[in-house]
């Protein structure tokens, strides 16, 4: 790759780097805002102009994970002294942590977060798995009305999902699926599946069918050839599809708000529900949002190589 570059190209390259840097800064600004607010003292959260330099603290996270009540009168100094460091931070804010006996009462947040994880992971696995098999079928076998079927699958994305929210809610109530993990999972699989089928079909079409045919001739069954040859070749596509499905399921707000309220409520509708009445505690909300961002970031980071290859698929091969 020892290509000789002209000065013009070097200059262009520098301009491109600067442009990318600026774009990155713009895209990262809201994330910085949330992340910094999550570590700010309460009173600095809403200052105008925004406070940039401050002593970061973890108090918002302590408040995020605990159940607290406002105290009518200042805390007894002896109790304050005996309290562990994190409880003192809560007393500092004029609140006390709710306890049953000696057990600290946790807030709803960990539970909602788990709900999000369960629903997003299971729905992603199902949507990608079913999508992969379906796409393989469409890609490799001729069938009557193939184009119509594919179009039909795509048509589920043609209206905004919220349009059907009310009928879905009523149907779910009748069959007892509202406020259940299964209910949300079914919904998310339903709208991720069309996407998954179409995306995976593109990737499957790129895999030469000669690979499987060679395996078939060598004495493998269609299923064995699929698992041994096609699946590893499709790994990139599967990773890319999984990231997109996971993000959609993880971020979904409208249906989660309508279909769940307690048991199966996910984090997106829960976080704003903490705003409550009176002065909103933005730092605690920011802490919740910040933690909520992490799984997607980690998941995407782990699959970054596949994603990059996935996006340039077809452009590079052949």
């Amino acid at each position: 790759m020892a290509a000789v570059r002209t000065t013009g190209e070097v200059a262009l390259n520098r301009i491109a780097v600067v442009a990318v840097l600026i774009a990155t800064l713009i895209f990262l600004a809201p994330i910085y805002w949330i992340a910094s607010t999550a570590f700010k003292p309460k009173e600095l959260a809403v200052t105008v102009p925004p406070t940039v330099l401050f002593q970061p603290e973890v108090t918002p996270f302590i408040r995020l994970f605990t159940k607290r009540v406002q105290m009518q009168k200042p805390v007894d100094p002896q109790v304050y002294e005996a309290a562990p460091w994190w409880e003192k931070r809560v007393y500092d804010g004029g609140e006390r942590v709710l306890k049953v006996g000696n057990d600290v009462q946790l807030s709803q947040y960990p539970n909602r977060f788990m709900n999000s994880l369960i629903v997003a992971v299971i729905s992603t696995v199902l949507a990608v798995g079913m999508g992969t098999f379906t796409a393989y079928g469409f890609s490799r076998f001729k069938m009557a009305g193939e184009a119509d079927l594919l179009f039909f699958i795509l048509s589920t994305r043609m209206l905004p999902p919220v349009v059907v929210a009310i009928p879905m809610f009523l149907m779910y109530r009748i069959v007892g699926l509202n406020d259940s993990h299964i209910g949300l999972i079914i919904l998310y699989v339903a709208f991720n599946l069309s996407f998954s089928v179409w995306l995976m079909k593109g990737f499957m079409d790129e895999i030469p069918k000669e690979y499987e045919e060679a395996a078939l001739v060598d004495g493998y069954t269609r299923m064995q050839a699929f698992f041994k040859i096609v699946l590893p070749e499709a790994a990139t596509g599967i990773a890319a599809t999984a990231v997109f499905c996971f993000i959609t399921a993880w971020n979904e707000y409208a249906f989660a708000l309508i279909m769940t309220n307690r048991r199966a409520q996910t984090a997106p509708p829960f976080i704003p529900s903490q705003i409550g009445s009176g002065l909103p505690d933005w730092t605690t909300i920011a802490a919740g949002t910040f933690l909520f961002l992490l799984p997607v970031a980690i998941f995407t980071f782990l699959l970054r190589n596949h994603l990059l290859r996935g996006m340039s698929f077809g452009a590079i091969r052949k």
């Binding site: 001739v217 004495g219 064995q224």
Partner: protein, 361 residues
């Protein structure tokens, strides 16, 4: 090893007819080459035998057994393709082991190792065994592909233009290697190609396929010297056979429209060549020769120097024909020359049907 028979095979894909009424008989241990242009149905024929496609009509028999209900896995054939038959994620060794590991005929590990080593030695790819296949050159890849086929000891080897993607030098080398390998293994080979030189140099038998039909089957010698019709005549041979319209008049070949005449005495096997019947005269370029006293004058239209010989394009009126002459022949373009032919080598075709009079019954 196996005896392959195709009986009255037809295959259609939707509205497209790939094969019609195809009969083929490949003897045990034979190197059979299926020759035809792109789209003639060669690959389809191969896939039918491999069990990757089902015929719309007709039977495929392996050793006399109708294999209609057998899947690709059960037929125990090996397939070598032009490309894409190696798995990019595997090393050469893993690729070679792959055909030995399916559940239905999984071999013991020692046997697998032994066979892989032997195949690698035969094909001289031992030094590549631990390399990933995407780091191989084209020739090495094709060697490994062939290796994947020979480790298995299949009943028949099916090869779909395995040399077409290679450069000329390598193609020549592998051609010889493949032929030697077939002799060494004594195996039945069905080799598909559009390259008539490959067909001629490798095949024990050649089948010429055109528009889904077998036009002629025979030894390379028969195909070359006694083509069944004008299609085979013009497809096989480089340069191809000269085909000139004309008729026989009083023991002379009169080329239409009265451009020139050549001596042509009625011989055995040309019974249908009655005077005045519209014919096509076929003559190989090497049977056209230049001579000072020869009967026809022509102009040299073009000269192609091939080292050992020159290929001349001669022009008589508006007819052109090719002649292969020794390299030392000194000719210039537009130079007038006189030529004759070897009347014993002339093949006569019916003008209407294009079928050779020797084959018409």
């Amino acid at each position: 090893m196996a005896h392959i028979q195709l009986k009255n095979i037809s295959k259609t894909f939707g509205n497209h007819t790939a094969l019609t009424g195809l009969d083929l008989d490949i003897a045990d241990g034979e190197f059979f080459v299926l020759l035809g242009e792109t789209g003639a149905g060669k690959t389809t024929t191969l896939r039918l035998i491999a069990g990757l496609e089902k015929p719309s009509e007709g039977q495929v028999l392996i050793d006399g057994v109708d294999v209609a209900d057998w899947g690709a896995a059960e037929r125990d054939v090996a397939l070598v393709l032009q490309q894409y038959s190696l798995y990019p994620r595997y090393t050469v060794r893993e690729n070679l082991e792959f055909p030995l590991k399916p559940k239905i005929r999984r071999l013991p590990d020692a046997e697998i190792k032994d066979r892989v080593d032997r195949a690698a030695r035969t094909l001289r790819i031992e030094h590549l065994l631990d390399r990933k296949t995407d780091r191989l050159s084209g020739g090495e890849m094709q060697r490994v592909s062939i290796g994947r086929a020979i480790v298995r000891k299949p009943r028949v080897f099916l090869m779909d233009e395995p040399l077409s993607a290679l450069d000329a030098k390598l193609r020549e080398a592998l051609r010889t290697e493949l032929k030697n390998l077939q002799i060494q293994l004594g195996a039945t080979f069905l080799f598909v190609t559009h390259d008539q030189i490959e067909a001629m140099s490798m095949g024990d038998k050649v089948g010429v396929l055109n528009h889904g039909r077998i036009v002629q089957t025979g030894t390379p010698h028969e195909i070359y010297n006694n083509p069944r019709d004008t299609y085979v005549a013009s497809f096989v041979g480089s340069p191809p056979m000269n085909l000139i319209d004309g008729k026989v008049v009083n023991g002379r070949a009169v080329m239409a429209p009265l451009n020139f005449e050549l001596p042509f005495s009625g011989r055995a096997g040309t019974g249908g060549a009655t005077d005045g019947r519209p014919l096509v005269f076929g003559i190989r370029p090497e049977d056209v020769y230049l001579e000072s006293g020869a009967p026809v004058e022509a102009r040299v239209h073009d000269v192609e120097n091939h080292g050992v010989e020159k290929i001349l394009t001669l022009r008589v009126g508006d007819t052109t024909l090719r002649a292969t002459v020794p390299a030392r022949t000194d000719v210039a373009i537009e130079q007038p020359v006189r030529f004759a032919w070897n009347p014993d080598k002339v093949v006569l075709f019916d003008k209407g049907s294009g079928v050779s009079l020797r084959h018409a019954s």
